[in-house]
Amino acid sequence: MTDVVRTGFRPSRVAIYGLLLLAALVYLIPLFIMLVTSFKTPMDIRTGNLMALPTDWTTIGWTKAWSEACTGVQCEGISGYFWNSFKMTVPAVLISTLLGAFNGYVLSKWKFKGSDLFFGMLLFGCFVPFQVVLLPMAATLGQLGLANTTSGLVLVHVIYGVAFTTLFFRNYYVAIPDALIKAARLDGAGFFTIFFRILLPMSTPIFMVSLIWQFTQIWNDFLFGVVFASGDSQPITVALNNLVNTSTGVKEYNVDMAAAMIAALPTLVVYIVAGKYFIRGLTAGSVKG
């Protein structure tokens, strides 16, 4: 359809490009503001304006955010929380993706009586507002001795992430011809052999989608972090919110912005490196829900 379109719109192509670039600017400006503010001195922030470049560039905001800024009662910066987020995200992403891969394999290639109902339950689970499970989950984590621990958060993220990962893998494996599986079964290949020898080698794209989707979701989560973690086990998003919103003394916007950049960098890097898979995850999670 593009060639048809081209002839029709040619006179106004300047306007199209103009609007697209203007929109690009609107999306980019907050990132620009965040970056330049993080390199300013507090003095510079007070005298200059949002869009002005720093008069003298300084990394003091970054070092302060990393190791000195106050996040509530403690003033040790956000570095500890940054690593907390990694310790929480990496296992949760791996476990939920692995579970999702096996679930998706069963729900597409080894259907049993009731497996469709189970899939329906999972699908619905993707939509449930988490508010409805928070309180019982908090009570359970307390009972298990996992309240305010990173392991507790990993468990929570696995439970509420597995519905999505299963959906990804199930929809991916459904498209693979059943004949392939049947042939392998005739040759005597069992459940795991078929998975590891036949499906796994062709699953790289969907593994990427699942890993990246889960990484961004879990890294960016705030609700579970703020409800189930406190003090030393908090993830970066909670620490950032505390840093920005518990103001004692003079507000240092350069530190705020540097902290926001630090919290944003891992997912931004993932997005820039593997944006293709991120977009696929977004659309897979919604269109073919």
């Binding site: 081209r6 920005v244 916007y253």
Partner: protein, 308 residues
């Protein structure tokens, strides 16, 4: 399975009925952990919250049955009323703006644009950010003394004033702005994918008949993208109902409780104000709202799939 018996490899293991049974049970065993996790963690807990919403639980759960008391209290609660109205304002504006911006950008991007990939990447990157990051940045941009206002003053528009962030009437709109900034690129991506799937011969035929391009988009292409509209509205409505992070980062529900959303109300009452029963009732109403959206959607989705 009968056929497999003829296979040599299978025959060697045939004596073991146990292995056969295991093979048959293996798929179920593999999904069993997830079944338990989901069964308890989603359905069990949903029920548990439902039960709590019918009790007078305050700081600790108690299991006395008080009927619909908490729901009645909720309906009479000013703060809940504000939160519900805010959800209407926020959800309506958020969904509408994202759709309009997303559709326009997608149509424009579909005109054989050079560097389309790069532009798309720019439109979509906010989706990779945490709402807390987005909230932090927008809070700074909209800062009443040092933010946008000062920028405009420096640029010569000295009468410009913008204090929506701290105004209880307008603060909810600042949250809409930040949310639209974050999610509109995603709607663009959905529609762009949809546009790429439109059959070009229909458009060619319409052009031969003398229809103008805007008319073709309005009358033919966009109506054919109805499923994409539904998906987009579903996802956006879902984001709106669950919205919590952005409010916490930008206004924490303030000034006063003027920017409360149901999710913020639920959090505040359940975890900081010690009103578990009321909090649970509000959570159940959120679930009800989502159900009202999801059930028809899932129903039509599944029915469509059966037709395939």
């Amino acid at each position: 399975m009968e056929h497999t018996q003829r296979q040599p490899a299978r025959v060697a293991r045939a004596p073991s009925r146990f292995l056969d049974a295991l093979q048959r049970w293996l798929p179920k065993l593999v999904v069993a952990p997830t079944f338990v996790l989901i069964g308890v963690g989603i359905y069990g807990y949903m029920l548990w919250t439902g039960v709590l919403s019918f009790t007078s639980s305050s700081f600790l759960p108690v299991y006395d049955f008080v009927g619909f008391d908490q729901y009645a209290k909720l309906m009479a609660n000013d703060r809940w009323l504000t939160a519900s109205i805010n959800l209407g304002i926020f959800g309506g504006l958020f969904i509408f703006s994202c759709l309009v911006i997303g559709v326009i950008l997608a149509i424009f991007l579909d005109q054989r644009i050079r560097q389309e990939g790069a532009i798309r990447t720019i439109y979509l990157y906010p989706m990779a950010l945490s709402m807390i990051v987005t909230g932090t940045v927008w809070k700074w941009i909209l800062n009443p003394s040092l933010g946008l206002e000062k920028l405009m003053h420096d640029w010569g528009w000295t009468s410009f004033s913008f204090d929506w962030l701290v105004s209880s009437d307008m603060a909810i709109y600042t949250i809409v702005m930040a949310a639209v900034w974050q999610a509109s690129g995603f709607v663009m991506a959905l529609f762009l994918a949809g546009l790429r799937g439109v059959d070009s011969s229909i458009i060619r035929a319409a052009r031969v008949d003398g229809a103008s391009l805007p008319l073709i988009y309005w009358k033919i292409i966009l109506p054919s993208l109805r499923p994409v509209f539904f998906s987009a509205v579903m996802v956006l409505a879902h984001i709106a109902i669950k919205s919590f992070d952005l409010v916490m980062a930008m206004t924490a529900g303030g000034p006063g409780y003027s920017t409360d959303l149901p999710a913020v109300f639920m959090y505040a009452h359940t975890f900081t104000r010690g009103q578990m029963g009321l909090g649970s009732a509000s959570a159940m109403l959120m679930l009800g709202a989502i159900l009202a959206l999801i059930v028809p959607y899932l129903y039509s989705e599944l029915r469509e799939k059966r037709h395939d």
